[in-house]
Symmetry: C2
Subunit: 668 residues, 2 copies
Amino acid sequence: MDEVGKAPSHQSHLLAQERKRRSFDLEELTIFLNGGADSYKAKNEMEAIVLKDPILRQDDLHFLSHEEEYRFSLQRSKRAIELLRELKLEWGSAKANKFWQAAESESFPVGLNLHMFTHALASQGTKEQVDFWVPLAKDFRIIGCYAQTELGHGSFLRGLETRAEYDQTTQEFILNTPTLTSMKWWPGSLGKTATHALVIARLYMAGRERGIHMFIMQLRDMETHQPLPGITVGNIGPRVGYNPNDNGFLGLKNVRIPRMHMLMRFAEVTPDGRYASLTRAAKPSYGTMVWIRAGLVTSRAVKLSKAVTIAIRYSAVRQQGHIDDKAGEVAVLDYVSQQHLLFPLLATSLAYLHVGRWLYAEYVRYRPDNAMQAAEMHANSSTLKALSAYVATKGIETCRRACGGHGYSRFSGLPHIYKYATAAETYEGEAMVLHLQTGRFLMKALRLFKSGQTLTGTIKYLSHWLTVVSDTSPIVPAGKSLADLFVLSNVFECAAARLIALAGRKLEHFLEQDGLSKEQAMNRAAPWLVRASEAHGEALFLVRFASIGDAKLSRPAREMLKGCALLYGLWRIEENTMFFMETGTLTPGNIQSAREHISELLALLRPDVVSLVDAFDHPDEVLHSALGAYDGDVYKRMYDYAKREPLNKTEVADGIHEYLKPLMKSKV
Amino acid sequence: MDEVGKAPSHQSHLLAQERKRRSFDLEELTIFLNGGADSYKAKNEMEAIVLKDPILRQDDLHFLSHEEEYRFSLQRSKRAIELLRELKLEWGSAKANKFWQAAESESFPVGLNLHMFTHALASQGTKEQVDFWVPLAKDFRIIGCYAQTELGHGSFLRGLETRAEYDQTTQEFILNTPTLTSMKWWPGSLGKTATHALVIARLYMAGRERGIHMFIMQLRDMETHQPLPGITVGNIGPRVGYNPNDNGFLGLKNVRIPRMHMLMRFAEVTPDGRYASLTRAAKPSYGTMVWIRAGLVTSRAVKLSKAVTIAIRYSAVRQQGHIDDKAGEVAVLDYVSQQHLLFPLLATSLAYLHVGRWLYAEYVRYRPDNAMQAAEMHANSSTLKALSAYVATKGIETCRRACGGHGYSRFSGLPHIYKYATAAETYEGEAMVLHLQTGRFLMKALRLFKSGQTLTGTIKYLSHWLTVVSDTSPIVPAGKSLADLFVLSNVFECAAARLIALAGRKLEHFLEQDGLSKEQAMNRAAPWLVRASEAHGEALFLVRFASIGDAKLSRPAREMLKGCALLYGLWRIEENTMFFMETGTLTPGNIQSAREHISELLALLRPDVVSLVDAFDHPDEVLHSALGAYDGDVYKRMYDYAKREPLNKTEVADGIHEYLKPLMKSKV
């Protein structure tokens, strides 16, 4: 059977035919989706370097054990940094970022040294501390990590138990994790890699607690890499994904570090044991968080678009069953049920790409001195992160299921995308926690509106809709179609405004009628607050994505993208009907017509979808997918991958003669 | 830190406190949920044997590579069969089944030999064939597998390409997989284990095609286990889960087998090359399929209940943040948002357990000579399987996310449950395919109703609701609460009836107004047909689960279960609002009050939930979860597991001196 596949396969032919059907200019859209000509050029250049490098390209991705993954990513880290230096790319430059993105793929165990460790140092250290430590980290003279989370304590800082006691006699801090629950747990790079850690601990001075501070601690001998005395450190074991990232645990028993290893930008411990909180202390800034979340929305777009690329290419070449008996087997992409699964997810990738960029632009515009604006941006980034992480992960799973049995094979590449994507549902804030934060902001906005203040920015719609129509009446004018981005935008914002008002009424009820404390009332009202935050997030996504119609693109591409925005909006209505029903914003007739419009849009987009996923421009070596490669030669790739399965190295597997044969001959 | 955990931990104490709060008799409910006293006793007895066996208990579950998983499951298979013989358990007996369930855990590479291989043989072979082959398989003299699916062809039988040509001169069949896409792909046990396969191939006799038949083929030498000439066989590589199951590929090049190796119960090839389709041929029976699907609904219940057990126990001991500042950190289970995630899933486990049993009872009652009844049961089993596989897998993921970061660790046990659970979303029929099958049946029922026939059984509601109220008016009488199982049952059935009618109108439209062929119209109407099938399935689940109020249990347990049924129904309305909105069955006010009722039910069930998951009775050794063990000692278990991580065998990991140290010393 090996000889098959030398001539272009039937599958490749089918995909080539699909590509002839597109309505738009492929190059123009590819450049647009990849952030413009310069960005696209840099990506191509750096990706080419990485993907032809025999160490950096990850040919064996699907076959590695946890230990092998770790070892291999050390090797790849080393190679990436060597190349970075060879190419004389300056860390932080646009090209270096593209290079690192392509090389790191998911996570190097030395990556956090460059990101979180230096970032926290730079923001919390004195000038002297920054000047001393940051260059060491950037040159990889030390490998740092950021150790905050504990086994029993997550994002709730006040719960942390790790202790740092100041010993005035030796001018040292003595660090301890006095309980099992206080062990540091989860920090990336901590397990087997880092030589140093920024340890977040509660400071005690002469028995008095002085709050949470950061301490630089050497963990391992610089020559032997053995843990230093008093330090228990190791890898926390296998996770769903991110195994190369070396998440670790850390136990401390009377570990002493010099006084100057406390980061002292905002608070000082003097040699003689005085504590001073310094006036140069800034308010905690939301900036970094918003920046990280903008990145997360964009990377959700990228991950989902990879999954959609795989599922759409495979669906175009996978043939099964008949629609018309005479026409032979049809591509599963011609089944409307399959289109209904996949095309909305394609549109969602575009939505997240577009809105991720918008959120990043908001972050750039952001001025921390405007408290309401800061709170608004933080709230927006919270709900957008929570929603996009959830919908993208669910969408990746839908893509996997849409590939049938083969999707369940790791060779589809989809399980790999999923296992990294789903991590973002919990890291940087679990969805419920984030929605409740946004809910708090929305309640604040509602109070401002009720007190007669003018709301601006992204929350302006609240005052508009609560003023214009304060009841639950339907808002789509008779004769108006839902397949209209202006109408859809109104529908989403109106539903959100009404759900915010409803949550406000519930909260008031719990406070006033039931006499609960504020926190108890917030807890009881949680389901309403979460729903309000979700509706606000859905409105943000739809309304910003709707502006894609203004993109500087030639008409066919623009029209196609507008079709995607419509499909996205109508599909979100399908997925969240409750928002629109509970608030009376839409009627049963509206919902029925939404379904009709979706049907029409699926047919409209059908000829373009294969080219549209081409425009995301994910190289085969990045997708690692037998099903999603550019040439469509899926069956040859499945077989080629299977030949490399370690169990197939020998015809008779290990264990057969030891266990199976005796069983087959044993007495019955 | 190791000394911690010798005294009962704080976490264990919290869980013990929870157990004091229950309203019902634990033993009574445990026996009820485990299928009655006899079944529960057998489970306990067999589980005890398996879980104390050093080979069968799977202590290293979280640390195995693909090759190790396979080798280990061969060892475990051998041990299980030895024990089965030692205990003199007869294969197929209730006790043997309980034993096998406990021992196999997920999948032995020899399991299909006992199930699919012998079953297909028994149903398709002549008496002589059955008498010869089945005992060989049951005694493990041969290891058989069932080879149907091909690399390019799934459930669509007509697409299969494997050929069997009859050679009259030697009285043999010559089998070939002439193309890459015709290679057998996916059959369990095929890769490295099976010595024999039932190969499904298209028969050709003197150039004439004679349809699909089954052939017994020896694959490997019985002594050396080497593949026989002309046979290419191997493992298809890593999948999301089921890796011990040894799914394989098979290529055939002029493999000759004796004439009598074709299964000839329903068709005969005579020595001189005549083909006869025999009159004793039965119509294809849906029986086995319904039986498998009833089992799948039940096993969805079991898998989801494991995940819920883990998440609820962990949420009861995980403390984070404050609700009341004075009260100290609270268990995350006290957050209403967390309750809203988990309690409906607990109710869903109960629903699936109950309805799985109902479906099995239906299968037992089933008479294949009643065509309409057979079609109804097949349609019901299709939508129930599709819905439960989807909702349970999604629910398991919700449980994982509800455990925050620790859920992402494999030590939570949740990723293991997920990776097996999600397989059922595609095997035995992908959801869209199943819903479209059910959709076809519902259209048939609708036509019967319109032609004036009386509908009976589970579809009777269709005629009732289309007769009583044929419009889209709301059906909950003013003043009636939605928190009433009778009202809820009506709401679900009415919405389903209306969605079936709507799908019928769409289909008619495509047929008559657009002039499409029947198959084209079915394809265009797919979104409506799928929705109708889903609504029918939701109604089946709710209405059957609602009968739990009649269970023979003392009052407190019954009341609690009725609360679960209410919560389940109201939650499904939240999740599927579109069904009720599009059909006008519920009003915005109904939806708002559904939310209120859910809130009340969460509070009502809160004291019982920890005991309720105890009643599922999943032993720690089955959960394999650091977070979900009975004693609540989660942090100690996380640490104990982590110490066993292979990377922690040495303080300095492999690769550090080779890659990291040179990097740290290299020229900048």
